[in-house]
Protein backbone atom coordinates (compact mmCIF):
# COMPACT_ATOMS: atom_id res chain seq x y z
CA UNK A 1 0.00 0.00 0.00
CA UNK A 2 1.57 3.29 -1.07
CA UNK A 3 0.93 6.71 0.46
CA UNK A 4 -1.98 7.43 -1.89
CA UNK A 5 -3.64 4.10 -1.08
CA UNK A 6 -3.15 4.71 2.61
CA UNK A 7 -4.78 8.11 2.28
CA UNK A 8 -7.78 6.57 0.47
CA UNK A 9 -8.04 3.86 3.11
CA UNK A 10 -8.08 6.48 5.87
CA UNK A 11 -10.76 8.46 4.06
CA UNK A 12 -12.87 5.34 3.65
CA UNK A 13 -12.57 4.47 7.35
CA UNK A 14 -13.29 8.02 8.40
CA UNK A 15 -16.43 8.18 6.25
CA UNK A 16 -17.79 4.73 6.97
CA UNK A 17 -16.74 3.90 10.53
CA UNK A 18 -19.91 5.35 12.12
CA UNK A 19 -22.09 3.08 9.98
CA UNK A 20 -19.81 0.08 10.49
CA UNK A 21 -19.77 0.61 14.25
CA UNK A 22 -23.55 0.86 14.33
CA UNK A 23 -23.77 -2.42 12.46
CA UNK A 24 -21.17 -4.04 14.71
CA UNK A 25 -23.01 -2.82 17.80
CA UNK A 26 -26.22 -4.49 16.66
CA UNK A 27 -24.52 -7.70 15.55
CA UNK A 28 -22.89 -8.08 18.96
CA UNK A 29 -26.13 -7.37 20.81
CA UNK A 30 -25.12 -3.96 22.13
CA UNK A 31 -21.54 -4.84 23.16
CA UNK A 32 -19.30 -1.77 22.65
CA UNK A 33 -16.03 -3.69 23.06
CA UNK A 34 -17.27 -6.55 20.89
CA UNK A 35 -18.32 -4.10 18.18
CA UNK A 36 -14.90 -2.40 18.21
CA UNK A 37 -13.15 -5.77 17.91
CA UNK A 38 -15.42 -6.86 15.09
CA UNK A 39 -14.95 -3.67 13.05
CA UNK A 40 -11.23 -3.57 13.81
CA UNK A 41 -10.67 -7.15 12.65
CA UNK A 42 -12.60 -6.53 9.42
CA UNK A 43 -10.72 -3.28 8.69
CA UNK A 44 -7.38 -4.99 9.30
CA UNK A 45 -8.29 -7.60 6.69
CA UNK A 46 -9.45 -4.89 4.31
CA UNK A 47 -6.17 -2.99 4.75
CA UNK A 48 -4.22 -6.11 3.83
CA UNK A 49 -6.21 -6.53 0.60
CA UNK A 50 -6.95 -2.90 -0.15
CA UNK A 51 -5.58 -2.94 -3.69
CA UNK A 52 -7.51 -6.07 -4.70
CA UNK A 53 -10.90 -5.16 -3.23
CA UNK A 54 -13.27 -3.36 -5.60
CA UNK A 55 -16.13 -2.68 -3.19
CA UNK A 56 -14.58 -2.08 0.21
CA UNK A 57 -17.76 -1.51 2.19
CA UNK A 58 -19.43 -4.68 0.96
CA UNK A 59 -16.20 -6.58 1.67
CA UNK A 60 -15.97 -5.25 5.24
CA UNK A 61 -19.62 -5.97 5.98
CA UNK A 62 -19.34 -9.51 4.69
CA UNK A 63 -16.29 -10.13 6.88
CA UNK A 64 -18.16 -8.72 9.88
CA UNK A 65 -21.20 -10.96 9.33
CA UNK A 66 -19.16 -14.10 8.90
CA UNK A 67 -16.62 -13.21 11.59
CA UNK A 68 -19.34 -12.65 14.15
CA UNK A 69 -20.88 -16.05 13.47
CA UNK A 70 -17.50 -17.82 13.50
CA UNK A 71 -16.38 -16.13 16.73
CA UNK A 72 -19.55 -17.32 18.28
CA UNK A 73 -18.90 -20.85 17.06
CA UNK A 74 -15.36 -20.68 18.40
CA UNK A 75 -16.27 -19.67 21.92
CA UNK A 76 -19.68 -21.31 22.11
CA UNK A 77 -22.63 -19.81 23.84
CA UNK A 78 -20.43 -17.81 26.16
CA UNK A 79 -20.17 -15.35 23.29
CA UNK A 80 -23.68 -14.14 23.98
CA UNK A 81 -24.03 -10.92 25.87
CA UNK A 82 -25.07 -11.83 29.37
CA UNK A 83 -27.78 -9.62 30.74
CA UNK A 84 -27.38 -8.71 34.40
CA UNK A 85 -31.13 -9.10 34.81
CA UNK A 86 -33.67 -10.78 32.59
CA UNK A 87 -35.17 -8.45 29.99
CA UNK A 88 -37.70 -6.17 31.51
CA UNK A 89 -41.16 -7.69 31.36
CA UNK A 90 -43.62 -4.95 30.47
CA UNK A 91 -46.99 -5.26 32.14
CA UNK A 92 -50.38 -4.69 30.53
CA UNK A 93 -50.18 -1.02 31.35
CA UNK A 94 -46.74 -0.57 29.85
CA UNK A 95 -47.50 -0.57 26.20
CA UNK A 96 -45.76 2.60 25.29
CA UNK A 97 -43.59 2.19 22.21
CA UNK A 98 -40.38 3.27 23.90
CA UNK A 99 -40.88 0.64 26.57
CA UNK A 100 -41.54 -2.00 23.96
CA UNK A 101 -38.31 -1.05 22.24
CA UNK A 102 -36.39 -1.51 25.48
CA UNK A 103 -37.93 -4.93 25.95
CA UNK A 104 -37.09 -5.83 22.37
CA UNK A 105 -33.44 -4.78 22.87
CA UNK A 106 -33.12 -7.17 25.77
CA UNK A 107 -34.70 -9.94 23.74
CA UNK A 108 -32.44 -9.28 20.73
CA UNK A 109 -29.39 -9.46 22.98
CA UNK A 110 -30.44 -12.95 24.01
CA UNK A 111 -30.52 -14.33 20.46
CA UNK A 112 -27.57 -16.25 19.07
CA UNK A 113 -25.28 -14.11 16.88
CA UNK A 114 -26.51 -15.94 13.79
CA UNK A 115 -30.17 -15.33 14.63
CA UNK A 116 -29.41 -11.69 15.40
CA UNK A 117 -27.39 -11.29 12.18
CA UNK A 118 -30.32 -12.47 10.07
CA UNK A 119 -32.70 -9.99 11.70
CA UNK A 120 -30.18 -7.14 11.44
CA UNK A 121 -29.68 -7.84 7.74
CA UNK A 122 -33.39 -8.17 7.03
CA UNK A 123 -34.77 -5.31 9.12
CA UNK A 124 -31.88 -2.90 9.76
CA UNK A 125 -29.97 -3.26 6.52
CA UNK A 126 -33.27 -3.91 4.70
CA UNK A 127 -31.80 -6.57 2.43
CA UNK A 128 -33.91 -9.08 0.47
CA UNK A 129 -33.57 -12.75 1.43
CA UNK A 130 -31.24 -13.68 -1.42
CA UNK A 131 -28.75 -10.97 -0.45
CA UNK A 132 -28.91 -11.99 3.21
CA UNK A 133 -28.07 -15.51 2.06
CA UNK A 134 -25.08 -14.18 0.09
CA UNK A 135 -23.84 -12.18 3.04
CA UNK A 136 -24.01 -15.10 5.45
CA UNK A 137 -22.89 -17.73 2.97
CA UNK A 138 -26.01 -19.88 3.30
CA UNK A 139 -29.13 -20.75 1.28
CA UNK A 140 -32.29 -18.68 0.98
CA UNK A 141 -34.13 -21.51 2.72
CA UNK A 142 -31.79 -21.24 5.69
CA UNK A 143 -32.37 -17.49 5.86
CA UNK A 144 -36.16 -18.08 5.93
CA UNK A 145 -36.01 -20.76 8.61
CA UNK A 146 -33.54 -18.75 10.73
CA UNK A 147 -35.75 -15.66 10.48
CA UNK A 148 -38.73 -17.71 11.58
CA UNK A 149 -36.85 -19.24 14.51
CA UNK A 150 -35.40 -15.86 15.53
CA UNK A 151 -38.83 -14.26 15.72
CA UNK A 152 -40.19 -17.26 17.61
CA UNK A 153 -37.32 -16.92 20.07
CA UNK A 154 -38.10 -13.22 20.55
CA UNK A 155 -41.72 -14.09 21.32
CA UNK A 156 -40.58 -16.73 23.76
CA UNK A 157 -38.09 -14.48 25.54
CA UNK A 158 -40.44 -11.51 25.69
CA UNK A 159 -44.07 -12.70 25.64
CA UNK A 160 -45.31 -9.12 25.91
CA UNK A 161 -43.99 -8.57 22.38
CA UNK A 162 -45.90 -11.54 20.98
CA UNK A 163 -48.81 -9.48 19.71
CA UNK A 164 -46.46 -7.04 17.97
CA UNK A 165 -44.37 -9.80 16.46
CA UNK A 166 -47.34 -11.85 15.22
CA UNK A 167 -47.64 -9.38 12.40
CA UNK A 168 -44.25 -10.47 11.08
CA UNK A 169 -44.13 -11.12 7.34
Amino acid sequence: MDAADEQRFREFVSARSPALMRLGFLLTGGDQHGAEDLVQAALTKLAARWQQVGAPEAYVRQIMFRQQVSWWRAIGRRGEVVQAVPPDRAGADRTHQSELRMVLRGALARLTPRQRAVLVLRYFEDLPEDRVADALGCSVGTVRSTTHRSLARLRQVAPELAAELEAAP
Binding site: M21, Q32, A47, V82, E164, A167
Partner: protein, 390 residues
Protein backbone atom coordinates in the same frame (compact mmCIF):
# COMPACT_ATOMS: atom_id res chain seq x y z
CA UNK B 1 -43.73 -5.45 13.60
CA UNK B 2 -41.19 -4.61 10.94
CA UNK B 3 -41.43 -1.05 12.07
CA UNK B 4 -40.91 -1.94 15.72
CA UNK B 5 -37.81 -3.96 14.86
CA UNK B 6 -36.44 -1.18 12.64
CA UNK B 7 -37.11 1.57 15.16
CA UNK B 8 -35.59 -0.46 17.96
CA UNK B 9 -32.43 -1.25 16.02
CA UNK B 10 -32.07 2.34 14.78
CA UNK B 11 -32.38 3.73 18.27
CA UNK B 12 -30.07 1.10 19.78
CA UNK B 13 -27.39 1.49 17.11
CA UNK B 14 -27.36 5.23 17.79
CA UNK B 15 -25.87 4.56 21.24
CA UNK B 16 -22.60 3.15 19.95
CA UNK B 17 -19.41 5.15 20.45
CA UNK B 18 -17.21 5.46 17.37
CA UNK B 19 -13.47 5.20 18.12
CA UNK B 20 -11.39 7.72 16.21
CA UNK B 21 -8.28 5.60 15.58
CA UNK B 22 -9.69 2.62 13.70
CA UNK B 23 -7.64 3.33 10.57
CA UNK B 24 -4.39 3.70 12.52
CA UNK B 25 -4.93 0.42 14.29
CA UNK B 26 -5.78 -1.45 11.10
CA UNK B 27 -2.73 -0.09 9.30
CA UNK B 28 -0.45 -0.75 12.26
CA UNK B 29 -1.53 -4.36 12.60
CA UNK B 30 -1.17 -4.97 8.89
CA UNK B 31 2.37 -3.58 9.10
CA UNK B 32 3.59 -6.32 11.46
CA UNK B 33 4.49 -8.82 8.79
CA UNK B 34 6.54 -11.80 10.03
CA UNK B 35 9.53 -10.76 7.92
CA UNK B 36 9.56 -7.21 9.24
CA UNK B 37 9.19 -8.46 12.81
CA UNK B 38 12.03 -10.94 12.42
CA UNK B 39 14.34 -8.28 10.99
CA UNK B 40 13.47 -5.92 13.80
CA UNK B 41 13.92 -8.61 16.45
CA UNK B 42 17.32 -9.53 15.07
CA UNK B 43 18.42 -5.91 15.08
CA UNK B 44 17.31 -5.39 18.63
CA UNK B 45 18.93 -8.61 19.77
CA UNK B 46 22.26 -7.41 18.44
CA UNK B 47 21.89 -4.08 20.18
CA UNK B 48 21.05 -5.75 23.44
CA UNK B 49 23.77 -8.35 23.16
CA UNK B 50 26.29 -5.52 22.94
CA UNK B 51 24.65 -3.82 25.87
CA UNK B 52 24.77 -7.05 27.83
CA UNK B 53 28.48 -7.46 27.33
CA UNK B 54 28.95 -3.88 28.41
CA UNK B 55 26.99 -4.40 31.58
CA UNK B 56 28.20 -7.76 32.69
CA UNK B 57 31.50 -8.41 30.96
CA UNK B 58 32.21 -11.64 29.12
CA UNK B 59 30.53 -13.86 31.69
CA UNK B 60 27.08 -13.50 30.19
CA UNK B 61 24.65 -15.24 27.93
CA UNK B 62 21.65 -13.95 26.06
CA UNK B 63 18.52 -16.06 26.09
CA UNK B 64 17.47 -17.42 22.70
CA UNK B 65 14.18 -15.71 21.88
CA UNK B 66 14.81 -12.19 22.97
CA UNK B 67 14.81 -9.07 20.81
CA UNK B 68 13.50 -6.41 23.18
CA UNK B 69 12.87 -8.98 25.88
CA UNK B 70 16.55 -9.83 26.20
CA UNK B 71 16.86 -11.40 29.60
CA UNK B 72 20.61 -11.28 30.04
CA UNK B 73 21.57 -14.00 32.46
CA UNK B 74 24.80 -14.60 34.32
CA UNK B 75 26.22 -17.99 33.40
CA UNK B 76 26.70 -18.70 37.10
CA UNK B 77 23.27 -19.52 38.43
CA UNK B 78 22.04 -18.04 41.69
CA UNK B 79 20.81 -20.51 44.27
CA UNK B 80 21.96 -19.01 47.56
CA UNK B 81 19.54 -18.41 50.41
CA UNK B 82 18.77 -14.75 51.01
CA UNK B 83 16.60 -13.81 53.96
CA UNK B 84 15.33 -10.77 55.81
CA UNK B 85 13.87 -12.24 58.95
CA UNK B 86 13.37 -8.90 60.69
CA UNK B 87 10.94 -7.47 58.21
CA UNK B 88 7.55 -8.34 56.75
CA UNK B 89 7.23 -7.27 54.04
CA UNK B 90 10.97 -7.67 53.50
CA UNK B 91 13.27 -4.73 52.93
CA UNK B 92 16.17 -6.80 51.65
CA UNK B 93 16.10 -9.30 48.78
CA UNK B 94 14.59 -12.70 49.66
CA UNK B 95 15.37 -15.83 47.65
CA UNK B 96 16.16 -19.52 48.05
CA UNK B 97 17.32 -22.01 45.45
CA UNK B 98 15.70 -21.23 42.15
CA UNK B 99 12.91 -19.06 43.59
CA UNK B 100 12.99 -15.36 44.46
CA UNK B 101 10.54 -12.86 45.86
CA UNK B 102 10.84 -10.62 42.82
CA UNK B 103 8.14 -8.18 43.90
CA UNK B 104 5.32 -7.82 46.33
CA UNK B 105 2.20 -5.72 46.74
CA UNK B 106 0.44 -4.25 49.70
CA UNK B 107 -3.18 -3.18 49.82
CA UNK B 108 -5.02 -0.09 50.96
CA UNK B 109 -8.66 0.89 50.93
CA UNK B 110 -9.74 3.72 48.67
CA UNK B 111 -12.82 5.59 49.95
CA UNK B 112 -15.54 6.05 47.32
CA UNK B 113 -18.05 8.93 47.13
CA UNK B 114 -21.02 6.76 48.17
CA UNK B 115 -19.40 5.77 51.46
CA UNK B 116 -18.13 2.46 50.11
CA UNK B 117 -14.47 1.58 49.67
CA UNK B 118 -12.45 -0.68 47.43
CA UNK B 119 -9.11 -2.34 47.58
CA UNK B 120 -6.10 -0.82 45.80
CA UNK B 121 -2.57 -2.15 45.43
CA UNK B 122 0.84 -0.59 45.90
CA UNK B 123 3.62 -2.47 44.11
CA UNK B 124 7.19 -2.94 45.25
CA UNK B 125 9.78 -4.25 42.81
CA UNK B 126 13.13 -5.92 43.48
CA UNK B 127 15.94 -3.48 42.76
CA UNK B 128 19.29 -5.22 42.15
CA UNK B 129 21.12 -1.89 42.59
CA UNK B 130 20.13 -1.62 46.25
CA UNK B 131 19.48 -5.34 46.81
CA UNK B 132 16.11 -4.33 48.24
CA UNK B 133 12.64 -3.46 47.02
CA UNK B 134 11.59 -0.19 45.43
CA UNK B 135 8.12 1.28 45.86
CA UNK B 136 6.56 1.93 42.44
CA UNK B 137 3.53 3.67 40.96
CA UNK B 138 2.72 0.92 38.44
CA UNK B 139 -0.85 -0.39 38.35
CA UNK B 140 0.49 -3.97 38.00
CA UNK B 141 3.79 -5.64 37.32
CA UNK B 142 5.41 -9.02 36.85
CA UNK B 143 9.04 -10.03 36.67
CA UNK B 144 10.35 -12.30 33.91
CA UNK B 145 12.17 -15.52 34.81
CA UNK B 146 15.80 -14.61 35.36
CA UNK B 147 14.97 -11.32 37.13
CA UNK B 148 16.37 -9.18 34.31
CA UNK B 149 13.14 -7.69 32.95
CA UNK B 150 9.77 -6.66 34.34
CA UNK B 151 6.49 -5.97 32.56
CA UNK B 152 4.84 -2.91 34.07
CA UNK B 153 1.37 -1.47 33.58
CA UNK B 154 0.97 2.27 33.33
CA UNK B 155 -2.32 3.51 34.71
CA UNK B 156 -4.26 4.27 37.82
CA UNK B 157 -6.05 0.97 38.41
CA UNK B 158 -6.17 -0.59 34.96
CA UNK B 159 -4.39 0.70 31.87
CA UNK B 160 -3.64 0.41 28.17
CA UNK B 161 0.11 0.89 28.18
CA UNK B 162 2.52 -1.93 29.00
CA UNK B 163 6.21 -1.21 29.48
CA UNK B 164 9.16 -3.61 29.38
CA UNK B 165 11.47 -2.47 32.15
CA UNK B 166 15.16 -3.29 32.43
CA UNK B 167 15.55 -4.29 36.08
CA UNK B 168 19.20 -3.21 36.17
CA UNK B 169 18.98 0.23 34.56
CA UNK B 170 15.33 0.81 35.68
CA UNK B 171 14.58 2.17 32.21
CA UNK B 172 11.57 1.20 30.13
CA UNK B 173 13.01 -0.33 26.97
CA UNK B 174 9.75 -0.57 25.03
CA UNK B 175 6.15 0.53 25.34
CA UNK B 176 3.25 -1.49 23.95
CA UNK B 177 -0.05 0.36 23.50
CA UNK B 178 -3.27 -1.65 23.68
CA UNK B 179 -6.85 -0.94 22.60
CA UNK B 180 -8.45 -2.26 25.79
CA UNK B 181 -7.62 -1.73 29.44
CA UNK B 182 -5.81 -4.60 31.12
CA UNK B 183 -5.66 -5.40 34.80
CA UNK B 184 -2.89 -7.97 35.19
CA UNK B 185 0.33 -9.04 33.49
CA UNK B 186 2.06 -12.44 33.56
CA UNK B 187 5.27 -13.46 31.81
CA UNK B 188 5.34 -16.71 29.89
CA UNK B 189 7.61 -19.37 31.43
CA UNK B 190 10.21 -18.83 28.67
CA UNK B 191 10.21 -15.05 29.19
CA UNK B 192 9.27 -14.15 25.61
CA UNK B 193 5.60 -13.21 25.97
CA UNK B 194 3.36 -11.33 28.37
CA UNK B 195 -0.21 -12.40 29.01
CA UNK B 196 -2.44 -9.43 29.90
CA UNK B 197 -6.03 -9.90 31.07
CA UNK B 198 -8.41 -7.25 29.72
CA UNK B 199 -11.24 -5.69 31.73
CA UNK B 200 -13.87 -3.10 30.85
CA UNK B 201 -13.52 -1.56 34.31
CA UNK B 202 -11.54 -2.06 37.52
CA UNK B 203 -12.39 -5.61 38.57
CA UNK B 204 -12.08 -5.40 42.34
CA UNK B 205 -15.37 -5.29 44.27
CA UNK B 206 -16.36 -2.44 46.54
CA UNK B 207 -17.62 -2.87 50.09
CA UNK B 208 -19.58 -0.89 52.61
CA UNK B 209 -19.27 -1.21 56.34
CA UNK B 210 -22.39 -2.93 57.66
CA UNK B 211 -21.38 -3.08 61.31
CA UNK B 212 -18.28 -2.74 63.42
CA UNK B 213 -17.08 -6.18 62.39
CA UNK B 214 -18.65 -6.76 59.00
CA UNK B 215 -18.93 -5.40 55.48
CA UNK B 216 -21.49 -5.68 52.72
CA UNK B 217 -19.51 -6.59 49.64
CA UNK B 218 -20.91 -5.87 46.18
CA UNK B 219 -20.24 -8.66 43.66
CA UNK B 220 -21.27 -7.36 40.26
CA UNK B 221 -20.56 -9.55 37.24
CA UNK B 222 -16.87 -9.73 36.40
CA UNK B 223 -15.87 -7.12 33.80
CA UNK B 224 -13.34 -9.41 32.11
CA UNK B 225 -13.62 -9.09 28.33
CA UNK B 226 -10.58 -10.87 26.93
CA UNK B 227 -6.81 -11.03 26.96
CA UNK B 228 -3.72 -10.04 25.02
CA UNK B 229 -0.73 -12.16 24.14
CA UNK B 230 2.13 -9.72 23.74
CA UNK B 231 5.20 -10.88 21.83
CA UNK B 232 7.87 -8.87 23.57
CA UNK B 233 10.41 -9.17 20.75
CA UNK B 234 8.12 -7.67 18.11
CA UNK B 235 5.83 -5.57 20.27
CA UNK B 236 2.87 -7.26 18.64
CA UNK B 237 -0.19 -7.65 20.87
CA UNK B 238 -2.84 -10.15 19.74
CA UNK B 239 -6.22 -9.63 21.35
CA UNK B 240 -8.65 -12.47 22.06
CA UNK B 241 -12.16 -12.08 23.40
CA UNK B 242 -12.90 -14.12 26.48
CA UNK B 243 -16.00 -13.33 28.53
CA UNK B 244 -15.80 -13.82 32.28
CA UNK B 245 -16.79 -17.06 33.94
CA UNK B 246 -20.22 -17.02 35.51
CA UNK B 247 -20.43 -17.45 39.27
CA UNK B 248 -23.80 -19.19 39.22
CA UNK B 249 -22.63 -22.35 37.43
CA UNK B 250 -19.98 -24.88 38.38
CA UNK B 251 -17.18 -24.79 37.65
CA UNK B 252 -17.46 -21.02 37.56
CA UNK B 253 -16.15 -17.92 39.26
CA UNK B 254 -18.02 -15.19 41.09
CA UNK B 255 -14.94 -13.00 41.58
CA UNK B 256 -14.55 -9.77 39.63
CA UNK B 257 -10.84 -10.36 39.06
CA UNK B 258 -10.34 -13.40 36.83
CA UNK B 259 -6.71 -13.11 35.72
CA UNK B 260 -5.40 -15.71 33.30
CA UNK B 261 -2.23 -17.77 33.75
CA UNK B 262 0.17 -19.94 31.74
CA UNK B 263 0.63 -23.69 31.74
CA UNK B 264 4.04 -24.84 32.99
CA UNK B 265 5.40 -25.20 29.46
CA UNK B 266 3.71 -22.05 28.14
CA UNK B 267 1.70 -23.94 25.50
CA UNK B 268 -1.68 -23.32 27.09
CA UNK B 269 -3.54 -20.80 29.27
CA UNK B 270 -5.83 -21.25 32.24
CA UNK B 271 -8.59 -19.21 33.77
CA UNK B 272 -9.23 -19.48 37.50
CA UNK B 273 -12.41 -20.80 39.07
CA UNK B 274 -13.46 -20.18 42.65
CA UNK B 275 -13.78 -23.86 43.39
CA UNK B 276 -12.28 -27.20 42.37
CA UNK B 277 -11.07 -27.87 39.75
CA UNK B 278 -9.25 -24.62 40.40
CA UNK B 279 -8.62 -23.83 36.72
CA UNK B 280 -10.13 -24.32 33.28
CA UNK B 281 -7.82 -24.75 30.31
CA UNK B 282 -7.66 -22.81 27.08
CA UNK B 283 -5.58 -22.98 23.94
CA UNK B 284 -3.53 -19.84 23.28
CA UNK B 285 -6.33 -18.57 21.03
CA UNK B 286 -8.93 -19.02 23.76
CA UNK B 287 -10.63 -22.32 22.95
CA UNK B 288 -11.60 -24.47 25.90
CA UNK B 289 -9.66 -27.72 25.98
CA UNK B 290 -8.30 -30.46 28.21
CA UNK B 291 -5.40 -29.51 30.46
CA UNK B 292 -1.84 -30.56 29.68
CA UNK B 293 -1.48 -34.28 30.43
CA UNK B 294 0.63 -35.03 33.48
CA UNK B 295 0.88 -31.45 34.74
CA UNK B 296 0.29 -31.19 38.48
CA UNK B 297 -0.03 -27.84 40.16
CA UNK B 298 0.00 -26.49 43.66
CA UNK B 299 -3.61 -25.38 44.12
CA UNK B 300 -4.49 -21.95 42.72
CA UNK B 301 -0.89 -21.28 41.69
CA UNK B 302 1.27 -21.45 38.60
CA UNK B 303 3.85 -23.63 40.34
CA UNK B 304 4.45 -27.32 39.79
CA UNK B 305 3.90 -29.94 42.48
CA UNK B 306 6.63 -32.02 40.84
CA UNK B 307 10.21 -31.50 42.01
CA UNK B 308 12.72 -30.17 39.43
CA UNK B 309 14.29 -33.63 39.03
CA UNK B 310 10.84 -35.17 38.58
CA UNK B 311 11.22 -37.65 41.43
CA UNK B 312 8.93 -36.16 44.09
CA UNK B 313 5.42 -34.74 44.20
CA UNK B 314 4.23 -32.44 46.95
CA UNK B 315 1.26 -33.62 48.96
CA UNK B 316 -1.02 -31.18 50.71
CA UNK B 317 1.07 -31.31 53.90
CA UNK B 318 4.73 -31.88 54.51
CA UNK B 319 5.60 -34.67 56.94
CA UNK B 320 6.23 -33.22 60.41
CA UNK B 321 9.63 -33.85 61.95
CA UNK B 322 7.91 -34.54 65.28
CA UNK B 323 4.55 -36.36 65.20
CA UNK B 324 1.66 -33.96 65.76
CA UNK B 325 3.70 -30.84 65.10
CA UNK B 326 2.55 -28.86 62.11
CA UNK B 327 5.46 -27.71 59.98
CA UNK B 328 4.02 -25.22 57.52
CA UNK B 329 0.66 -23.78 56.57
CA UNK B 330 1.02 -24.06 52.86
CA UNK B 331 3.62 -25.12 50.31
CA UNK B 332 4.35 -22.54 47.60
CA UNK B 333 7.13 -23.71 45.26
CA UNK B 334 10.06 -26.10 44.93
CA UNK B 335 13.29 -24.21 45.68
CA UNK B 336 15.40 -27.23 44.63
CA UNK B 337 15.03 -31.01 44.70
CA UNK B 338 15.07 -31.25 48.51
CA UNK B 339 13.61 -27.98 49.76
CA UNK B 340 10.34 -26.18 49.40
CA UNK B 341 9.44 -22.53 49.79
CA UNK B 342 6.47 -22.45 52.11
CA UNK B 343 4.23 -20.36 54.26
CA UNK B 344 5.43 -20.97 57.80
CA UNK B 345 3.35 -20.24 60.85
CA UNK B 346 4.42 -18.16 63.79
CA UNK B 347 4.92 -19.96 67.11
CA UNK B 348 2.55 -22.89 67.45
CA UNK B 349 0.52 -22.21 64.33
CA UNK B 350 -2.31 -20.78 66.42
CA UNK B 351 -3.41 -18.34 63.73
CA UNK B 352 -3.27 -19.22 60.07
CA UNK B 353 -2.90 -15.54 59.18
CA UNK B 354 0.10 -14.95 61.44
CA UNK B 355 2.83 -16.24 59.15
CA UNK B 356 5.91 -15.63 57.03
CA UNK B 357 7.96 -17.20 54.27
CA UNK B 358 10.19 -20.14 55.18
CA UNK B 359 12.37 -22.66 53.41
CA UNK B 360 11.63 -26.18 54.59
CA UNK B 361 13.23 -29.52 53.78
CA UNK B 362 10.91 -32.14 52.33
CA UNK B 363 11.19 -34.32 55.43
CA UNK B 364 10.12 -31.39 57.62
CA UNK B 365 13.36 -31.69 59.57
CA UNK B 366 14.91 -28.31 58.73
CA UNK B 367 13.13 -24.97 58.56
CA UNK B 368 14.82 -21.70 57.64
CA UNK B 369 12.98 -18.45 58.21
CA UNK B 370 13.12 -16.15 55.15
CA UNK B 371 10.97 -13.18 56.19
CA UNK B 372 9.56 -11.88 59.42
CA UNK B 373 6.17 -13.13 60.55
CA UNK B 374 3.26 -10.80 60.31
CA UNK B 375 -0.47 -11.03 60.75
CA UNK B 376 -1.59 -11.06 57.13
CA UNK B 377 -5.31 -11.17 57.81
CA UNK B 378 -5.80 -7.41 58.01
CA UNK B 379 -6.05 -4.70 55.40
CA UNK B 380 -2.33 -3.96 55.56
CA UNK B 381 -1.30 -7.40 54.37
CA UNK B 382 1.51 -8.02 51.89
CA UNK B 383 1.53 -10.50 49.01
CA UNK B 384 4.68 -11.86 47.41
CA UNK B 385 5.35 -12.50 43.73
CA UNK B 386 7.58 -15.53 43.24
CA UNK B 387 9.79 -15.80 40.15
CA UNK B 388 12.39 -18.25 38.91
CA UNK B 389 15.90 -16.87 39.34
CA UNK B 390 17.59 -18.88 36.61
Amino acid sequence: MTRLLRDTMEEWAGEVRVPYHLADRALRRRAWSPVAAAVLATGLAVVVAVLAVGLHGPNTTVRPANGVSVPVLPTVTSTDVRADIENAPPKRFVAAGDVAVSAYWTTWQEPLPDGAERVRRTWYLYDPRSDGYEKTAWAWLDVAPGLQLAAVLQGDMIGRRVGILDMNSREVMAWIDLEHDVGSLVWSPDGTKVLATAYSRYPEPSRKRASRHSFDVAFPASPRIGYYLIDVATGEAAYHRLPALDGTVQPGNSNGRQDLGWSLDGSMLWEPTDTMPDRLWLSLDGRRQEGPPGDQYIDYSAWSKVSPDGTRVLSRDLPPARPGKQVVLQTLAWADNDNVLALGCAGTCGSEFDNGLVLVSVDGERTTQLTGNRDRGGDDSWHWVLTRRN
